[in-house]
Symmetry: C2
Subunit: 601 residues, 2 copies
């Protein structure tokens, strides 16, 4: 596809680039004396210069002849330079920041481009919401390449969202300048079963000659995976076992090895590389979901690279997985992903291949970040008011809203058995577990002894008044309640808690502030992150967001939860495209069979 | 770009493929029990089945569930299967056969697709001639993917051709269904010097989002090569030294390691792989020019693979170089180049990775060749009459036409020094050598003692009456003369010989038969290959053509030349885009400086 993410199309500047390479014209920028990470040949080339003009690389070698009076000379002093990092699968909304602030946060860590799926905002505000985020992103140098959300709702028929997307919307979006593909096709069941809706979206993407990105999250690597790959899905970030990633690569699908704030799949997946001797060109490293705390404390793809190297993946191969391999997946390797002549001049400086600290980021030939800070101006975006009014619940929420009556025939039992969602710390999956809960006055309550919490999901988009009821096991909290409007992917109002009063307080706190994440206990708000933009984001910088999220994590710890980023794990409770059991505003969903199931076994 | 070379677009059959993978619908074809050469991971997978439907791969694994009553089951019996071979740079005309017969010759050797540059016929008959060949090719299953000839004439201003191509023609051709890129940009001087003509052609190709193929034939790997690559040229088959190929790969240009009938560069180039530890994804194996004799006796890419392996390149890597690496270069790896779900079902069977003999070729799911013979019908194409009338010389040619008078001031000298083209057996290059020739009656003659032959190039397209005069060293012949209308790239009438009478006979023999290649001696025709189609090809099968060419080679041997395929080396004498000295119908050209030079030093 034509790359619309470089400063100048190549066809407008081939002559100038040739002039610079030959020394007839001075370069805009020359980098001198670098150790070049050559991702094409997987070598380190010592003492290399790079000359840049028109935002593109004109020459790689010994570039004295490209330097003129006006040329900016950057002395690498023996630092490494690598192609700018590309994240092949990312949701900006997980950072809880707008796209502009997200760019400000990741660019100093070497990220020059993201293939982003803005499906969180799309679930709440539709493609109009996506356009607002694209507009925000366009204020920054980050190459924010959109894959249009394919699964809005995530699993049609199982939840209520603020908007919906189908083949017609996909076809329309493929004509937009910033769209390079289809967002993660989470409806793998629809794909493997051949539904019109799913295949209609695939077809519109293929007709536009763009790339389909995937989400195949079950540990089945035979018929289902083959059907999924045969349908044109080119990459997938949902492997959690090394054998799954290996199976995908063998079938010619790019395996996107994930290391997000809460999904730490990479150490396991790295065995697909380190335990074998395979060609690794079909592997990526992706972050998927990164919260602001991680961006501030650890970084972005630089952090993922460090983890990869610590897992035994050789540094050059790891760097290929965030550069050339990603560009090739999106068939944009003619423009991105390597420090070679003609390509966009997207370059990162690294202090070493062991430390992998990014000291400088160049995008389209402009130095856009140095020593951790961006060098471009970025004011507040000013999200329009309609984007910040997204809490549309029908009924008032009170403690009584959280009553869970048992069926009449069980009212006299001592206990009843309920289907419970058992979370897995650090993973996106959740098990279905059966738990016996005591019946008290014909109703069920949370059981701290069994670490089982009452869980509600209230529809918040169209005042339908619908809600789902279930139980969750595994958070370890001992008091209070949590609520979140970040509740994938419909982003309805999710409430989990130990008692009805705190649950009502948590819910109402978010309704009042326009959405966010909150922890309460004993009638008091312990931690609150307001997310007024669609109930998903705020237009603050990463430092501020991180501080707020830290406060929230502290509040989680205060009430007894020791997990990393527990709010991210909680936010997946409604995500019906992940195994095994999930709760949406319409009820409990068996996500292996895709059918509603009763709370009571 | 959208692939127009598969039986069915993927968007029309994703549902069917999913159905087959899941076992809901039977496959058209199932291959069972194969050793799969997995080019994605560079592994051999034992005992694999492949299910095919709609011309595409639906499933890879254990495919019993895909077999129905109507399914064609092909038992591999432990043979290897690999993706069908793709030749990233090829001129069909070098085979001296029409495109249909060429397809018939190469498909049994595992070739399923060619990226061909029909610049020979284009030089003679223009893009209308190209269309005729495309029409011929379309009768066969071969994926004949055209790169539009970019350099017609090869080096503007230095020769006269039958037609010319510029940016306007390139832009027009990019809208044709069968065109996937720009043919080899031999005018690398124009590219590195920034001429409008060359850069205009590059721009039109880039605007159409297609791939520019290259030809950078000088041993300069610094400023010039950088300028060339920066201008968007994605591959190059003209490396003759390992360091050149390595330099190209390091700059992100695909190095196409060549092994044609007469250009045996691969053994030297293989050192770029075998002496290093580089990632080889930027390497291809290509044939460039293969004559019918080679196709019949040795094969096509299967033969090149065998040579590559004999040079120490591991078989799986070598196979990647004629499959996935080629498809990726042309940004068609989503459709071609691997045996993975969704891709075109282009598959070859190999009896072993040491022998690399192709026993069966499948294209788009159809078995199109088995045990050396094609299984599709192919009659005579019936080239239109205008294509077979291409000998348009102005003046009658007689022995007197070949007189070479010395300048008046040298008429009394014993000898004069002449610039002589010294050929290099097995290479496309030629040196400039200075030779002292005796002056006899104020004229020069060939010198058998010094192995130096009189050489003439007569314009044959537009009756201009122009001709060039020079001398060639190195063929070793002792009597007679040769002539050829295959005389790159203008394909004027080239005559080389020991004496004027035989030279006239050779020339007139070709004028009478509509073009071809001939060897004469002592007033007798010893060998003749008639090539009535544009003076370049005949519509015969490879066996017949091979026999005729064998006869010609025998004739060369009779008059004293022991080189392999000397007629192919001779045919490059006029090719002004190759170093160092060449002779066109306009005169001697210094091909390092691109200027005409005098015969006399």
């Amino acid at each position: 596809m034509i790359n619309r993410f470089c400063k100048m199309p190549l066809w407008e500047c081939t002559k100038t680039l040739a002039d610079v390479a030959q020394g007839r014209t001075s370069a805009d920028v020359v980098i001198t004396g670098a150790k070049l990470v050559n991702v094409c040949t997987a070598e380190i080339q010592e003492n290399m210069d790079v000359a840049i003009s028109c935002g593109r690389i004109a020459y790689v070698g010994q570039a004295d002849h490209c330097i003129g009076d006006e040329t900016l000379v950057i002395e690498a002093n023996g630092q490494y330079i690598a192609p700018g990092f590309l994240d092949g699968h990312i949701h900006v909304e997980s950072s809880m920041m707008g796209a502009g602030e997200y760019a400000r946060a990741v660019i100093p860590h070497g990220t020059v481009g993201i293939y982003w799926d803005p499906h969180e905002i799309c679930n709440v505000l539709g493609l109009e919401g996506v356009k607002v985020m694209m507009d925000d992103a366009a204020r920054t140098p980050l190459k924010a390449m959109v894959t249009t959300p394919s699964c809005v709702p995530a699993v049609p028929g199982f939840e209520d969202t603020g908007s919906s997307v189908g083949p017609k919307e996909i076809a329309e979006s493929m004509t937009w300048d910033g769209v390079v593909g289809l967002g993660e096709m989470m409806n793998f069941v629809g794909v493997v079963n051949g539904t019109d809706h799913a295949h209609g979206e695939l077809a519109e993407t293929l007709k536009a000659d763009k790339v389909i990105t995937g989400h195949y999250s079950i540990p089945e690597n035979d018929r289902g995976l083959n059907a999924y790959v045969a349908s044109g899905v080119r990459c997938c970030h949902e492997s959690t076992r090394a054998e799954d990633a290996l199976a995908k690569m063998r079938l010619g699908q790019y395996a996107q090895l994930r290391y997000g704030s809460a999904w730490h799949d990479l150490p396991e997946l790295a065995h697909a590389i380190t335990d074998t001797d395979i060609d690794t060109r079909f592997a990526h490293l992706v972050s998927d979901d990164t919260h602001p705390h991680t961006l501030v404390e650890d970084g972005h793809l630089d952090h993922v690279l460090r983890v990869a190297v610590s897992c035994g993946i050789p540094p050059i191969q790891a760097i290929q997985m965030v550069t050339l391999n990603v560009a090739t997946c999106f068939r944009m390797d003619n423009e991105l992903g390597s420090i070679t002549p003609g390509k966009c001049a997207d370059i990162v400086f690294l202090d070493g291949l062991d430390t992998l600290n990014v000291t400088r980021t160049i995008i389209d030939g402009d130095v856009v970040a140095e020593d951790g800070a961006v060098l471009f101006p970025l004011g507040s975006y000013g999200y329009p008011a309609w984007v910040t009014r997204s809490m549309h619940l029908k009924d008032e929420i009170t403690p009584d809203s959280f009553a869970v009556p048992v069926p009449a025939e069980a009212a006299d039992e001592d206990t009843v058995t309920v289907r419970t969602i058992e979370i897995i710390p650090g993973k996106v999956g959740a098990f279905e577990t059966h738990v016996d809960l005591p019946v008290v006055n014909g109703k069920l309550e949370s059981s701290l002894a069994q670490d089982v919490l009452k869980t509600f999901v209230f529809e918040r988009h169209h005042e339908t008044g619908t809600y789902g009821v279930g139980f969750t096991k595994g958070f370890g909290i001992q008091r209070g309640a949590m609520a979140s409007t970040v509740a994938h992917d419909a982003h309805n109002l999710l409430v989990v808690g130990t008692n009805d009063a705190d649950m009502a307080l948590a819910a109402n706190t978010l309704i009042q502030c326009g959405g966010g994440m909150v922890v309460v206990a004993d009638g008091e708000v312990l931690g609150l992150v307001e997310l007024p933009i669609a109930g998903l984001m705020d237009d603050l910088g990463a430092e501020q967001m991180s501080k707020k999220v830290h406060g929230l994590e502290d509040a989680w710890a205060q009430i007894g939860c020791a997990m990393p980023s527990p709010f991210m794990t909680m936010a997946l409770i409604p995500l019906a495209c992940l195994p095994e059991l999930r709760l949406t505003n319409r009820g409990l969903v068996d996500c292996t069979k895709f059918e509603f199931v009763d709370l009571f076994v």
